[in-house]
Symmetry: C2
Subunit: 205 residues, 2 copies
């Protein structure tokens, strides 16, 4: 897996070497909640001063986010009710990785299911960690271009609406807090970097 | 609270009006895990098609993140071992809001505890939602300038090291995936917007 290797590798030489070892070692652990979608673990760990501490976290299979850029230059976004926040958010399409699924396959599947679009061009952007304090989740970000609409097929119990948003509008909505979903803020600002030519476009997959 | 009102208010007129109502209504619910730091709830909700669904999520008091800019122009960052990911991450300082605490007070407290710095200038930046799918957490982002070192006081069981990072280096580390923590990516790209003058500096508090 490209991204996992890349995300894990460069830390050591950059700011690890010569510094204090901050590693926490697992001593014991158990699943404390096995829900429909959420799985929570509690581990006992040894911390750097030799004492023990409790670490509680969500065990997550990972997710993808897609930055879909329409031929018009607009971003294809979604509005979705987010129950934990009690409100709608404006987001880029995203979804969980199925067991054994390659992240590009997840990206293609989620884009099609949620928005009805298929893409003629896919580029891997980055791997991010949305909540490192209490979730194992990583989000693999893919850029999708040359989009064609073929009809969507939402998961049972999934309700959302799609809307095209001009890049400049999306950037302004980030600035004023109208786009507040962290992964989506990153997707919008990353799209600007690439589309403005400040950062090179990642290679096509 | 400035930020909460601002984040919640502008949604309606922007992309809610005239569109399908996606609201999910709580029917029933319970705490399913009450841990040392993590609290998980499971609610039964009515979804837009009239059926019922389960929503599981972490109930979180909210957090702050600080973007500390040293007089040298460098960002003050931290490396910290993140047990759920089994590795160190490079992050901007952040921490949980205590019950009843104003977010600026949290920001001042966390900056002092984690880095030993106090700031002569504070500016509210934005509110973001790191994981809207399964956490109520919001992160209030503050910019801190005119920093002076007075000595840190880490929480018991908290282990981290601080390091100054030039803005250009931090931006490059975002691009290559060396900075992968979502809140920190946003903090770095937001700092660039403000310091480059692309976005106006928020008013001082």
């Amino acid at each position: 897996m490209t991204s996992g290797a890349r995300a894990g590798e460069p830390m050591a030489d950059t700011f690890h070497a010569g510094h204090k070892d901050l590693t926490e070692t697992r001593l014991d652990g158990e699943a404390v909640y096995d829900g429909v979608l959420l799985h929570v673990r509690r581990d006992t760990v040894r911390v750097p001063n030799g004492q023990q501490a409790i670490r509680e976290y969500v065990d997550h299979p990972g997710a993808v986010m897609i930055i879909p850029i329409l031929d018009s230059g607009e971003l294809l976004m979604e509005r979705q009710y987010r129950y934990p926040l009690g409100r709608e958010l404006l987001e880029l399409p995203a979804g969980k990785i199925d067991p054994g699924e390659a992240t590009l396959a997840t990206a293609k599947r989620e884009l099609r299911e949620e928005t009805g679009y298929v893409a003629g061009e896919w580029r891997f952007v980055t791997t991010m960690h949305p909540l490192c304090a209490y979730s194992t989740e990583r989000i693999e970000v893919w850029l999708a271009k040359r989009l064609a609409h073929e009809g969507r097929a939402l998961d049972d119990g999934e309700f959302l609406e799609t809307l095209p948003v001009p890049l400049a509008t999306a950037i302004e909505w980030v600035r004023v807090g109208r786009i507040s979903d962290a992964k989506t803020i990153i997707g919008v600002l990353w799209a600007e970097k690439i589309l403005a030519g400040a950062w090179p476009e990642p290679p096509a997959s």
